[in-house]
């Protein structure tokens, strides 16, 4: 019995980064396609999830960039269906989370994902300021960022009539604590790996 000693050279690839920082092995994917078959949004994606997995596996810079610039990573709704059905039990939504974060940090996010990202940012800002989500503030903030000024205005009267739209945010006492958490994570200089 002899074991072959590989000289493991770090390539600085996305696949390595995902393994090191998230403990998810993209290498284990053998392209069965179950994730793409079960994905509820696959038909709206530019690459189905299994193709994104393959692109990451290639460790090719152009392929990696295409994955980071894809619309797929932003359309993923993290429903976890792929992970539930993956025969290799790969945390595919975790891969998507990683790619999204990298894509955003590198300024590579697909321009068509602007509305989705605006919404996430408006959502997180609301929590950063008050500690809790302030729905009316979120919608106004999102509209300003995305210029979707007319969207859902017809919903407002119905929400007010049903007592579903609060006009004042709830402020928690630990707001300093919240600001600290945001300062050490999302708003950290240089971004996070």
């Amino acid at each position: 019995m002899s074991s072959v000693q590989h000289q493991v050279q770090k390539k600085g690839s996305l696949m390595e980064e995902i393994l090191d920082s998230r403990e998810i092995s993209v290498q284990k994917c053998y392209q069965c396609g179950k994730c793409s078959a079960g994905c509820p949004v696959a038909e709206d994606m530019d690459y189905p999830p299994s193709v994104i997995m393959r692109m990451v596996q290639t460790e090719d810079k152009a392929m990696e960039e295409a994955a980071l610039r894809s619309m797929t990573i932003w359309l993923c709704v993290t429903c976890e269906t792929c992970a539930a059905r993956c025969p290799m039990e790969i945390d595919i939504p975790g891969v998507m989370d990683y790619l999204r974060q990298r894509s955003y940090e590198k300024g590579m996010a697909n321009p068509k994902a602007n509305h989705i990202i605006s919404f996430h940012k408006a959502f997180l800002d609301s929590i950063d300021y008050t500690g809790r989500l302030y729905e009316l503030g979120l919608i106004v903030d999102y509209k300003m960022r995305s210029f979707q000024l007319q969207q859902d205005v017809d919903l407002a009267p119905g929400m007010i009539a049903r007592g579903k739209l609060g006009f004042f945010p709830e402020l928690i006492k630990g707001r300093k604590n919240m600001t600290d958490i945001f300062r050490k994570t999302l708003h950290k200089k240089g971004g996070l790996k």
Partner: protein, 301 residues
């Protein structure tokens, strides 16, 4: 008895009828809900989409607050919050290095010892065993129990029910006199966080859920998640536009269905707050699926 309680933002805002029905049912069964003091938002989809550490630190703060208040067991009615809290607890327990990093960000003591219940687990543990004491009338309807994603996935972490064909909510409906329908979309995704930024996508995903519930002759859809509810209920005009049919099937929270069965009045349960009016048909009357949908489903079969 006393039980810790994390309402989350949705229950304080757009899904206040969920909170109202949870509180009303708990009161009926002598469960005193104690809110986690000075709780914050769990970060939901936005946090884990944008930043991993943030998505763990926000739920960790909630759990730390619960610990400091001596709440060993908390119920988290919102499926999304439940999911984030459970995933955080799991990752903190299984990845020590990451846990240290998050604790440093948090700046608070965190043990991770809190037991976290979703609403179905609360119902199984504390409501159903005592149902006979308060049973008032059967919830005699054909119900499509819709679990969605976040209650059952990822199964390896949540360890709740079955990932593909869960049964716990169906069982609860059966116990209160209802008839759960066997249907294909009980764990499909409604589109959740895309409700505002990609309403078109939500209309399609939620549309398929509504369509299949009607195809299986359900009279009511039962949910346990504020996002499922708002997409099925508030987004119904978009859904109907996608389907090309005026569907009117009401969407009730599981706690509203139980509330009706134990004789709590509709207003206390917040039924009037739904966008799709809740006019449950006379008993034994089954609503037929609109003819247009029968044809589209027939083609697929």
């Amino acid at each position: 008895m006393k039980l810790g309680y994390y309402p989350g933002c949705s229950l304080k805002g757009g899904s206040r009828e969920y909170k109202e029905s949870v509180v009303a049912v708990c009161r009926k069964f002598d469960i005193h809900l104690v809110e986690v003091p000075d709780w914050n938002c769990c970060g939901a989809t936005a946090a884990h989409n944008m930043n991993k550490e943030l998505s763990l630190a926000l739920p960790a703060r909630i759990l730390a607050q619960a610990e400091s208040a001596g709440l060993d067991e908390i119920v988290v009615p919102c499926a999304a919050c439940y999911n984030r809290l459970k995933v955080t607890q799991h990752e903190m327990a299984h990845q020590p290095e990451l846990a240290e990093k998050v604790k440093a960000i948090l700046g608070m003591e965190y043990k991770g010892s809190t037991s976290i219940l979703n609403i179905i687990q609360l119902i199984e543990k504390y409501i159903l065993p005592n149902l006979d004491d308060h049973y008032y009338r059967p919830f005699n309807y054909k119900a499509a129990c819709y679990y969605g994603c976040l209650l059952v996935r990822p199964h390896s972490i949540l360890q709740f029910d079955r990932a593909e064909d869960p049964q716990t909510m169906d069982e609860a409906i059966r116990k209160i006199g209802g008839t759960p329908v066997d249907w294909e979309f009980k764990v499909e995704c409604c589109g959740a966080g895309m409700s505002v930024s990609r309403t078109d996508l939500v209309a399609k995903l939620t549309g398929k859920v509504v369509e299949n519930a009607l195809y299986r002759k359900a009279e009511v859809i039962i949910v346990a998640c504020p996002m499922c509810h708002s997409n099925l209920d508030m987004r119904r005009p978009d859904v109907n536009k996608y389907l090309g049919v005026e569907t009117t099937i009401p969407v009730l929270y599981i706690t509203q269905a139980i509330g009706l069965a134990v004789g709590i009045d509709e207003k206390t349960l917040g039924l009037q707050r739904h966008f799709v009016p809740v006019h449950l048909p006379e008993r034994n009357e089954i609503v037929d699926m609109p003819a247009e949908l029968v044809t589209t489903q027939g083609k697929e079969e």
